[in-house]
Amino acid sequence: MSVMTNIKRKLFSEQATPYVLLLPAVIMILIVVLFPLIFSLYTSFTGYKLTRPDTLFKLVGFRNYVRIFGDWDFWVAFFRTVGFLAVVINLEFLLGLGIALLINKITWGQRTMRTIMMFPMMFSPILVGFQFKFIFNDNVGILNNALQGLGITEAAIPWLVDGWLAMGAIAFAEIWMSTSIFAILLLAGLFAMPKDPLEAAQVDGCNAWQTFRHITLPFLMPFAYIAMTIRSLDVARAYDVVDTMTGGGPAGRTELLWTLIARTGYDSANMGMANAMAYVSIILSIAFTYYFFSKLVAARRYMGGAL
């Protein structure tokens, strides 16, 4: 009885109040985030198949990981995803920056332009995938017909078959869909930018490029790194557009981590192996996130606390 009283007293004491208040949030996070993570980590050491729940208890040790480390196709998909991420994010940044700078100059109809700019984001990625799949179709696609009709080429260009062209087509779809995320965040940065440094630069005789390079761009970089962090997580998980346009093929030429993981986990029902792949691929997301956050911190330090 005295033990219970002691626990009650401690639970309702003033020092315990913050922890008690935090408890529901902590429990929710444990349930929503930590439990699935631990569960999926556990399954990566089993031969778990979705269609056979009894296999959940069939421990296979490090077999899934050993197979992944010796699987050439997995590592090709891994490094292809790294390359895809690097190219797509940089191009989205450059295009988003250009669009943001142009829209920032508009004095009439700016709101309308901002709304139009966001249209591609409103489409479901699957619809975007279908749209570009038919644009890039080699036989009945609009692009090849236009190129042949204009006399630019006589051949049917295999956009979605050749490895480089197919990755280019997928990157184009991805960039078309998501460049506006960069544009919006950078535009927000431009709106928040103080005018004084720009006016001071003009007084000091800086030309437009010098002003942009040494004042505008450093000011925008923290915004860019936030966008890059968000998009790197998105692109590292790119699935819908790739699956719709090429399904990771042909012959694995456009295979990215998540098309491979989804096919292994759902289509082949081999969830134990898929979770092991997912855990290895998380390294990629952590590395990119860490890199962009460290750049963000450096950029903010460079700005001397202006942001």
Binding site: G47, L50, T51, R52, P53, N137, D138, N139, V140, N144, Q148, E154, A155, A156, I157, P158, W159, L160, V161, A166, T246, G247, G249, P250, A251, G252, R263, T264, Y266, D267, S268, A269, N270, M271
Partner: protein, 437 residues
């Protein structure tokens, strides 16, 4: 004569509908019960569901459709339901290619359905609907592929003379796959016109390879339980795809094609020969097609073994073991596969699994003067009865297909030789078999 034929069709349809419906359930039998179902969705499948209110009115039950997705998404959802142990529904759409994966999820329908309900479906189809000797599916319609061609190409005198001079035999709609290859290469004029095409990814190319393997006299599995598709017959089957690709007789994009691309490509008038299912027949001869009035159809050609290709699958319904009212579920699937239901699906161009429904659609089309649909259903009905075969009944078909198709693609685009690609696929497939124990 036409009037008589029309009258007999109407009488036959009416009588069968009354018998089927009366046999299936009686009014108010399931009053207040809600039947939970997961059905395949999509334009081709939806018209049948417009009949569900009729079943509800007749039985007093309500139908709650929990899912209405394409089959690949539905398959994923069902797998997740199995994994999480949340089977709270009674009837699910199924397919012969997917059914073996689901283990004991579904019951043996021959226990809950009347013999005449099962017996009304084609025997060939029922055999394909079995898993481990249990009838786990009641098929609503089937798909098997036959060969469409552009008629005018075969009527052109210049084509006939040139082909004879080059290949030494008369230009006729092909009887063998070797002839298809010859003719496809002969007709091809890339990038404006192609000889033929094929679905080139996912289960599509695995299934096409499988039927070519069978037509070449090969088998997918050996007697030792391991895969045997990397045999000389398998290599010959794969070479057919590779040779056409190398000769540019098929569009360069085929490794990325599924049925939408092949169907739309043929309807665009840029492909001479197209192996496809009956669902496209009406579209190919419609005003939306550039080859309207110029489409011919023949049974799928033969391989070197003398056997025709006939990879077939059936869309079906299954009842879960966990269902709390199997009688209501049985009544529901009986209703959705009865004569009237199949006639409704048949009118949209889908191939009924009941021979009497096929006969009625043919009769109805003949009476309406629609010779094209008569030809389509006669051709597909014959191939369904004589040529059709399903994929091997194993839960590993889809996982093995996922290992096989990238290797087939690698051979098609020239990254590997056919033998090397099939050996690599066989090694991966045997690993899966070994893991399965």
């Amino acid at each position: 004569m036409r009037l008589l034929s029309k009258l007999s069709t109407v009488l036959l349809a009416g009588a069968t509908a009354v018998t089927m419906f009366a046999g299936a359930s009686s009014a108010g039998e399931f009053d207040g019960y809600t039947l939970k179902v997961k059905l395949i969705g999509g334009a081709q499948y939806e018209p049948l569901y417009t009949r569900i209110p009729e079943w509800e009115a007749a039985t007093g039950a309500k139908v709650e459709i929990l899912s209405r997705k394409n089959h690949f998404e539905l398959d994923r959802e069902i797998k997740q339901d199995i994994a999480s142990g949340s089977i709270n529904w009674c009837v699910g759409s199924n397919h012969t290619s997917f059914a073996p994966q689901y283990g004991s999820l579904y019951i043996d329908l021959s226990v809950v359905l009347d013999e005449d309900v099962v017996g009304a479906i084609s025997e060939n189809v029922n055999n394909s609907s079995m898993v481990d000797g249990r009838l786990v599916q009641l098929a609503r319609h089937s798909d098997v592929s036959n060969l469409y061609y552009i008629k005018s190409l075969y009527e052109d005198e210049q084509n006939k003379a040139d082909f004879k001079a080059e290949y030494g035999y008369d230009l006729m709609p092909p009887e063998t796959w070797d002839q298809v290859k010859d003719q496809a290469i002969f007709f091809a004029d890339p990038p404006n016109f192609y000889g033929t095409q094929y679905v080139g990814k996912d289960e599509g190319i695995s299934g096409r390879f499988y039927e070519m393997l069978v037509a070449e006299g090969g088998t997918f599995f050996g007697t030792d339980g391991k895969v045997a598709f990397n045999s000389p017959e398998g290599v010959r089957a794969l070479e057919w795809f590779v040779d056409l690709y190398e000769a540019k007789a098929v569009p360069a994009g085929v490794p990325n094609y599924l049925w939408d691309e092949t169907g739309l490509g043929f309807a665009s008038g840029t492909v001479a020969l197209n192996l496809d299912w009956g669902g496209w027949a009406t579209f190919f001869n419609s005003a939306d097609s550039k080859i309207q009035g110029d489409v011919g159809l023949i049974r799928a050609p033969k391989g070197s073994s003398g056997k025709r290709t006939g990879w077939s699958g059936s869309h079906s319904f299954s009842i879960t073991e966990a269902c709390d009212n199997k009688k209501a579920a049985a009544s529901f699937v009986t209703f959705l596969t009865n004569f009237d239901s199949q006639l409704l699906e048949g009118r949209t161009g889908l191939l009924p699994t009941r021979p009497d429904a096929i006969a009625a659609v043919i009769e109805e089309s003949r009476a309406a003067g629609n010779d094209w649909l008569v030809e389509v259903f006669e051709t597909y009905g014959a191939s369904m009865a004589e040529d059709a075969f399903a994929v091997p009944s194993t839960p590993l078909w889809i996982p093995i297909s996922n290992e096989l198709f990238p290797e087939l693609q690698a051979a098609i685009v020239g990254e590997k030789t056919p033998q090397q690609a099939l050996d690599d696929a066989a090694a991966a497939a045997n690993q899966l078999i070994e893991d399965e124990g």
